[in-house]
């Protein structure tokens, strides 16, 4: 940090002021009020609406984190969180349901990030196929309740299995098991009401946990980087399976996916939603979808709450300590009596279970499930959440999920919408602003080059690297600068839609996080130590052997 004593810095003075609960509370209140005021005054018909909403809505999403990090007493924090998540967000949702939809997505991804955090952050196992467990949860609900013609609806017959003319297994018929679209689910001879959805959340948990154990058993003996690639392979296998299980027996309806998946009943929420809307002076043309969204929102934050509790309890227990030990030194851990494979399986299974639970929720909320929703891109998205927030921390995972989901579904989407809106009015970006943007980007790249070469200890090489990097950047920027002219948005290439370029954004995000802040934005104390440990590791590894000759002399001298 700087050499200026903190007492003199105005920033530090402000920080000290903020440490007083009353002042902090006032600031937070003003912040939330301002954010709400801005949000509720946005006009959808405005050409610049996408840009405004892109900037304003995140203010609301980050408010809970500001509360958590504030010096308020615990009770006040809890109350503010309850007010924010339980009152403010639903009200915003009634005003404009896109925001509620975003909050549901953020909650679902928070649950996934928390689950993956157990695997990656707590136990240190890099799982690149995590989305597969989410898929398991989603499909378990979807195959039974979709209106698609799966074998569960049509019944099926097993052809006899023969090898070399001998019948190994005789053929048999299975009667239809599920009757979808009727408000009832029939499984075998049991008929369940739609509330069985809540039961299926538990099935999702169980099935995903079992899948986690089955996948984990063969691979958890592997070293970290192999594990990453194998889990990636497993994720792809599950996706390919769901893609191909449309024939010969139609289980998953193949690549078309399962549509018309049932939702749990939410009719009981229609009246309250209408009532509140009336008080707010908003008329809802179709209150039913809003009611159903409201149900999913509360279900999702409920599940997130449960998972937070689960993660905290696990972290604070012999299991959590064993995971930390495994992460730090597997050999020492197993020698100290920690059963490696069992503990790793436990991490894998609990992580998977979280994904299974929200998977069921997700299928019902989307009413559509297809293999494409469960690609490697999604796995990496969730990994990015855990990393951006900070591996091993619960608040970190939540913040990461919020940031990445906002980027993915809000910022990039609105960026694309903004381009389209401007295309329609044939907007021209003046060369001046483009030039300014280029200058800013160049400055950023130069900064990154200078920061990233800090780890080079050889001064000469550091200088050379910095100079080469800077010269290349400046030459490129100079070349680009000569080409800058007024830009007609209408000329924007139609294939360059920002919302389809998540890989670009998350790729850069991952690299930059690793280069500059591997411990994440809200690091857990221990992770911070682990990821900045160059200094001590060498010391521990190269214990000087005793001078052999000296001991020999001692020995010969009979000492």
């Amino acid at each position: 940090m700087t050499a200026i004593p903190s007492s003199l810095s105005p920033l530090a003075a402000l920080r000290r002021l903020y440490r007083q609960p009353l002042i902090a509370g006032g600031v937070l209140l003003a912040y939330v009020a301002l954010a709400l005021l801005l949000l509720l005054n946005l006009d959808r018909r405005d050409v610049w609406f996408p840009q405004y909403t892109m900037l304003v809505f995140p203010l609301i999403v980050f408010a809970p984190f500001l509360v958590l990090e504030s010096p308020l007493p615990t009770l006040a924090k809890g109350l503010s969180l309850a007010l924010l998540l339980g009152v403010a967000v639903p009200l915003i949702g009634i005003y404009d349901s896109t925001y509620l939809e975003l909050m549901i997505q953020i909650s679902i991804f928070s649950a996934l990030a928390l689950g993956l955090n157990i695997v990656v952050g707590f136990a240190g196992l890099l799982d690149l196929g995590y989305i597969a467990f989410f898929a398991v949860g989603a499909y378990i609900w979807a195959v039974f309740t979709s209106v698609a013609d799966t074998i569960f609806r049509t019944g099926f017959e097993f052809a006899p299995l023969t090898i070399g003319g001998n019948t190994l297994i005789a053929g048999f018929n299975v009667a239809p098991m599920a009757v979808a679209g009727t408000g009832l689910i029939t499984v075998g001879s049991i008929t369940l009401p739609l509330h069985a959805f809540y039961l299926f959340i538990f099935f999702g948990v169980l099935l995903a946990a079992v899948a986690g154990i089955l996948l984990g058993l063969p691979v958890l003996r592997l070293r970290g980087d192999y594990l990453a690639i194998v889990t990636l392979g497993f994720g792809e296998i599950i996706r390919v399976l769901f893609n191909n299980l449309g024939e010969p027996g139609n289980i998953t309806n193949g690549a078309q996916g399962l549509h018309g998946v049932m939702q749990p009943g939410s009719a009981f929420l229609i009246d309250p939603v209408n009532g509140i809307a009336g008080v707010m002076g908003v008329t809802l043309r179709t209150p039913a979808p809003v009611a159903s969204q409201m149900l999913f929102y509360f279900l999702a934050i409920g599940i997130v709450g449960l998972i937070i509790l689960l993660a905290q309890r696990l972290d604070n227990s012999p299991i959590g300590r064993a995971w930390t030990a495994i992460r730090e030194d597997e050999v020492a851990a197993i020698a100290m009596g920690v059963p490696l494979v069992r503990m790793k399986l436990l991490a894998f299974a609990t992580g998977a279970a979280c994904a299974g639970a929200v998977g069921v929720l997700y299928a019902a909320k989307q009413t559509f499930v297809s293999p494409e929703s469960f690609s490697l891109l999604q796995s990496i998205n969730i990994l990015a959440m855990v990393i951006v927030g900070g591996m091993g921390g619960i608040k970190g995972a939540l913040l990461g999920a919020s940031i990445v989901t906002l980027l993915n579904l809000h910022v990039l989407t609105n960026f694309a919408l903004q381009i389209n809106a401007l295309r329609n009015i044939d907007y021209v970006i003046p060369a001046g602003s483009l030039f300014l943007t280029l200058a800013l980007v160049t400055a950023l790249v130069l900064y990154i080059i200078w920061r990233s070469t800090r780890s080079i200890y050889d001064a000469g090489q550091q200088l050379r690297s910095r100079l080469t990097g800077s010269v290349i950047t400046l030459v490129l920027a100079g070349l680009l600068a000569t080409r800058i002219v007024d830009f007609h948005i209408a000329d924007w290439p139609s294939q360059l839609t920002p919302d389809k370029y998540q890989r670009f954004v998350f790729g850069i995000l991952l690299v930059l996080m690793m280069l500059f802040r591997p411990e994440g934005l809200l690091p857990s104390a221990r992770r911070k130590l682990e990821l900045h440990r160059e200094e001590t590791v060498h010391e521990a590894e190269d214990i000087p052997d005793l001078d052999q000759r000296k001991t020999d002399d001692d020995f010969a001298a009979g000492r």
Binding site: E328, I334, M336, G337
Partner: protein, 265 residues
Amino acid sequence: MTSLLDVNGLTKTFGGLVAVNNVTIQIQARSISAIIGPNGAGKTTLFNLLTGIYQPDKGSVVFAGKGLVGLRPDQVNAAGMTRTFQSIRLFHNMTVLENVMVGMHARLRVSLLQTLFRPPAFGRQEAHVRQRASELLRFVGLGGRGDEISRNLPYGDQRRIELARALAGDPKLILLDEPTAGMNPNESETAMNLFRRVRDDLGVTVVLIEHDMKVVMGISEHISVLDYGEKIAEGTPAEIRSNQRVIEAYLGRRAASEHPPLPAS
């Protein structure tokens, strides 16, 4: 008196190299024994074989009447044999206390349901673990330092944490791999007293690998000497000191002939 640890004909080869060759050793309960030998004699490999980190090619290990060959390291730990490492392998970013608490893992009831639902038994166990770990830290002389991050402690103290962590598994026998390496004579002296107290106060049998002859001769009741993977001698310190083969192994044949065995000092 029957022996606590009975190693019979233990053999391990890496590629073409025979690291441990047909080694037979008996360790008496409540004794302090040492295994010595020149560098590369196979001492650490022997420890790794005993604790299940490597699997032997041949031979048997019977500990307190139970065969250990084929068990995983955590099962060996649970059976009552724990160890320290030559190069300190602490969980460097955990606190001192947490390190010791991990060492008790095999003695705990670890259940997912208990962890999630927190019945009173869970709280009692956690309280007990914490208390026992603090006791052990006091025993090794690190009382009150439980909340420090272990990598911030000086080298000698890290060795003490390792000892406390190994003792936390409530062992019958503890294997110490060069526990005084890198210590000055004063520190070695303190460490020796600590090892004696491990045996006398806790009743734990101690087996150590050591290069420092002062420590070896000062503390052990029984010494086994390895050279090129084979046991070339065993006996009391006095016997070992005068053993011609041992002197040859350490100094080479020529030098040994110029140094006739010295009388015990």
